[in-house]
Symmetry: C2
Subunit: 259 residues, 2 copies
Amino acid sequence: MNPSLLTPAEARARFRQGLRVPTAGWSAGWTQANLIAVPREIAYDVLLFAQRNPKPCPVLDVTEPGEVSCGIFAGDLRTDLPGYRVYEHGSLVAETSDVTGAWRDDLVAFLIGCSFTFEAALLEAQVPVRHVEAGCNVPMFRTNRPCRPAGSMGGPLVVSMRPVPAGLVATAVRVTSRYPAVHGAPVHVGDPSALGIASLEIPDFGDPVEVRPDEVPVFWACGVTPQAAVMASKPAFAIGHAPGSMAITDARDSEFVIP
Amino acid sequence: MNPSLLTPAEARARFRQGLRVPTAGWSAGWTQANLIAVPREIAYDVLLFAQRNPKPCPVLDVTEPGEVSCGIFAGDLRTDLPGYRVYEHGSLVAETSDVTGAWRDDLVAFLIGCSFTFEAALLEAQVPVRHVEAGCNVPMFRTNRPCRPAGSMGGPLVVSMRPVPAGLVATAVRVTSRYPAVHGAPVHVGDPSALGIASLEIPDFGDPVEVRPDEVPVFWACGVTPQAAVMASKPAFAIGHAPGSMAITDARDSEFVIP
């Protein structure tokens, strides 16, 4: 089974049956999304937080309260991702592959764009994507850059990192700039310490990857940012995807590229 | 006094003193915005309506409840636009140049992108802009296309119309496509009846303009759409700008163009 060839429905069925893997490279051409679900009473704060921080939080779709599917996602948001994280008052209380028991009727789910969307375009442009080569999760880091807060929601910018050969950094910037709805151009190129990242070998989420001598670390805004805001802002309840274990949607990557 | 040369602060001071004119062509290079202010309790519906209808409702900034300025607008939203419309239960109850008395502490104001932003780029590309030539307001029309609703908010798409010489339609599409944050590419080119518009001579908002024999009517999504939603959805209270009488912000048009 080649995961890149599965339809979104086929991939979701496997995750619903319990398969737990990072979704990078799955269902090629279909858009993957970050999940953050919160009670309706703080949904405005989350939506405004996203509006004020569009680089890390590009909203692709929003469910009606209590609904578990939406226009771009015909599956069941409670079961069809490989993994979830459940938060109470900002603390991670469970990491699981099924949140049917934890889901509440007042939850509003936000699907947020994911940089996996532009990885096929990077590969097409001959820019290597190390975590796909290595078959592991992309490394993600909390930064020292605060997001612009909204009501009760605030927290740090989270970034994903891909090592890029020095001669291809401009290409990587150019290619990803064409995908503003899925984080777009990098937020930082080079020295991790400028973002307050102490060591690339110890990501806050995902797996470390090798950075070779001729490579520059390139950082893109990451859709785990709303979960970092949940950890910092401590709403009573929230559910997110397990970082790297995305919602595979029924939207095409090509819908999000600038012509 | 050449209005195009005034700074946003200078222009706002004139409107604060009571000048009532359409703002097209004012403060060249500075971004103009549509205003819709609603009580905090329905702010989520309005923000989600905007998220679901990004062509007519590109959100540029949102105030904190009760605030009358925000990051991109250093003036006073109650006085610094040339004109306002006040709605109660969907009915227009006042059109005035000062809403200080009507403003409420629970209002959240949304600044929505405006197609005036790309008119300088159209002119630069030799595409004539008839309503600027004529010194009148741009014609705007309710269409038969429903927006995607959100909670209590729903209503028709409103469009602005500019007649474009047939040989320049492609140029107009190309130029405005580069401004997705201020309505971007046209939603329709040609036959007004396909949008349910009975006569171009009777706009729902603004002034009629001449369409010459060699010209095609071109329609862009319009930031008056939230006010049409207010009229259709009848929230208890709302304040909008008078169509064509925009908020002149402290943001530069160049911030909203795709490189």
